[in-house]
């Protein structure tokens, strides 16, 4: 249980001390690498602090919080899922945007089909993967394509940006619109073609209303939104808010 952290925390309203106890963070899966680095740093700084992460799809995390999960912090990959949490009254205060992500045109290593820009996505002969319009990366892709006046001819609408990324990495898709961070995570298997005016996606974080350890939670949120977070996130390809 996540309850044990509560007893170690100072009583609410007490003067701020060094954060201690266990802080449970529910975070979108795409934040895995960055947040684990960040946790290491924080725990070095505050020896009494222990950060426990549960990574999962944003929507599932929100369901958990709505069902009364004894967690302290919620970080999602888009604002709409966070809005559901706010509407459910489980968030303490206003969520804060701590990172943004941009889309990039990804092609397999070596760019075998000589993709040059967004216009190639309309090519029927290319195998194109784009995110489903209803999910965050898909919405962003739609806006980007609309702005560029391109009618894409996708062969698959992936439900998760990771799928599009791995399709490119395996050479099954000739081109895909994916987040820069996901493209970066695929390493050498994927090449990025820069796109102008890539629309962004925002990552909000919030302390939860029923947080067993609000002190610690606030310290963690501060770290995410502050300098330490910015550095780590930037390394993974995220943009500043």
């Amino acid at each position: 249980g996540g309850d044990d952290g509560g007893s170690a925390a100072p009583p609410a309203g007490a003067p701020a001390t060094t954060p201690a106890g266990t802080v449970t963070v529910l975070a979108a899966a795409s934040l895995t690498e960055s947040f684990e680095t960040l946790a290491g740093q924080l725990e070095d700084e505050y020896p009494d602090l222990e950060i426990v992460y549960s990574f999962g799809p944003s929507s599932g995390l929100v369901e958990q919080v709505l069902a009364g999960a004894p967690a302290d912090v919620l970080a999602t990959a888009d604002t709409s899922t966070m809005d559901d949490a706010v509407a459910g009254g489980v968030v303490d205060g206003e969520p804060v945007i701590f990172a943004r992500n941009t889309l990039a045109l990804a092609v397999p290593a070596g760019n075998p089909d000589n993709v040059t820009g967004l216009a190639d996505l309309a090519n029927e002969d290319l195998r194109v993967a784009i995110c489903e319009p209803q999910v965050p990366c898909g919405g962003a892709a739609q806006r980007l394509l609309d702005a560029a006046g391109v009618t894409a001819a996708p062969d698959t609408l992936t439900t998760d940006v990771k799928e599009a990324a791995s399709l490119v990495a395996l050479g099954e898709a000739d081109a895909a619109l994916i987040y820069v961070t996901d493209a970066a995570a695929e390493g050498d298997a994927v090449e990025i073609i820069e796109v102008a005016d890539a629309v962004v996606n925002e990552y909000p974080v919030a302390v939860l209303a029923d947080a067993p350890n609000p002190e610690g939670a606030r310290a963690v949120v501060d770290a995410i939104t502050g300098e330490p977070g910015r550095t780590v996130l930037a390394e993974a390809g995220f943009l500043e808010p």
Partner: protein, 267 residues
């Protein structure tokens, strides 16, 4: 034996765990029903996308079950009835897709049947055929994920059945194929049916391997679970719940109808 006297009193030692088991399985569904946005139901269900996805789901799951029956029952028979060397390892391998996280399964399928995969590259170069992103790929993904259920269930049934009937058929001059078709298979029909139900249901609910290997395109590869997953990822769990209830309703109707007819006929 429709006429045999049924002992209606059931021992508590069985009834109590059974009730617990039913509760675990049925209560969550009650939760879904309670949570469903009944007002929005008609509009969600009547949408073209949903109907297309439903049709695709039913067609692919049924075709996959057919393929699994044709290929899987013989595999079960090999495992249960022959002295094949390395049989127990084969049995283990055949069970593997059960434990493989479906997404990894999809990746594995891509690596073999994808355009650059072991078999896929050859198919592509020779015939110009590429499996991913086609309805065939959906079927292949479903077969991969669901056939093991059929195999294991049928093998269990074959082991329960009396082998001596096969011997008798052999002395009457029947080839192994005739024996299989006319003696062995009818004897294990309930087991095959059970396996087919498992397989069909698993194929209908299949998501991970499909989305990775076949992609998700309306009309060709987007089945109902994919539709539901999209809704969840878009933060629209209400729609996901409605779609799930739809799948439940359809499959329960089909399974109940089918089983009652089958069981009725075989008694």
């Amino acid at each position: 034996m429709s006429r045999r006297t049924a002992d209606l009193r059931v021992p508590a030692a069985l009834l109590i765990p059974a009730a617990l088991g039913v509760a675990i399985l049925v209560l969550p569904m009650a939760g879904l029903v309670a949570r469903a946005p009944w007002g929005d139901l008609p509009s969600i269900l009547a949408s073209d996308e949903v109907l297309t996805a439903l049709r695709l789901s039913l067609v692919t799951a049924t075709v996959s079950t057919g393929v699994a029956l044709v290929c899987g029952v013989p595999v079960a028979w090999l495992l249960a009835r022959t002295a094949l060397p390395g049989r127990s390892v084969l049995r283990g391998l055949v069970t593997v897709p059960l434990v493989l996280p479906p997404v990894v399964g999809g990746v594995a399928l891509l690596m073999v049947f994808g355009r650059r995969g072991l078999v896929g590259a050859w198919l592509y170069d020779t015939f110009g055929v590429s499996l991913p992103f086609t309805t065939e790929a959906v079927v292949l993904a479903q077969v991969f994920v669901a056939m093991p259920f059929l195999i294991v269930a049928v093998e269990g049934a074959l082991r329960t059945a009396d082998r001596r009937y096969d011997d008798v058929a052999a002395t009457l001059g029947a080839t192994p194929w005739t024996t299989f078709r006319r003696v062995t298979l009818p004897a294990v029909a309930p087991g095959v049916l059970a396996g087919a139900v498992l397989c069909w249901a698993r194929a209908l609910g299949e998501f991970g391997a499909t989305v990775t290997f076949a992609g998700s395109f309306p009309g060709t590869t987007r089945t109902l679970p994919l539709e539901a997953y999209v809704a969840i990822n878009a933060g629209d769990s209400d729609v996901a719940i409605v779609l799930s209830l739809l799948m439940i309703a359809v499959s329960v109707t089909i399974l109940v109808g089918l089983r009652d007819r089958w069981i009725g006929a075989s008694q």
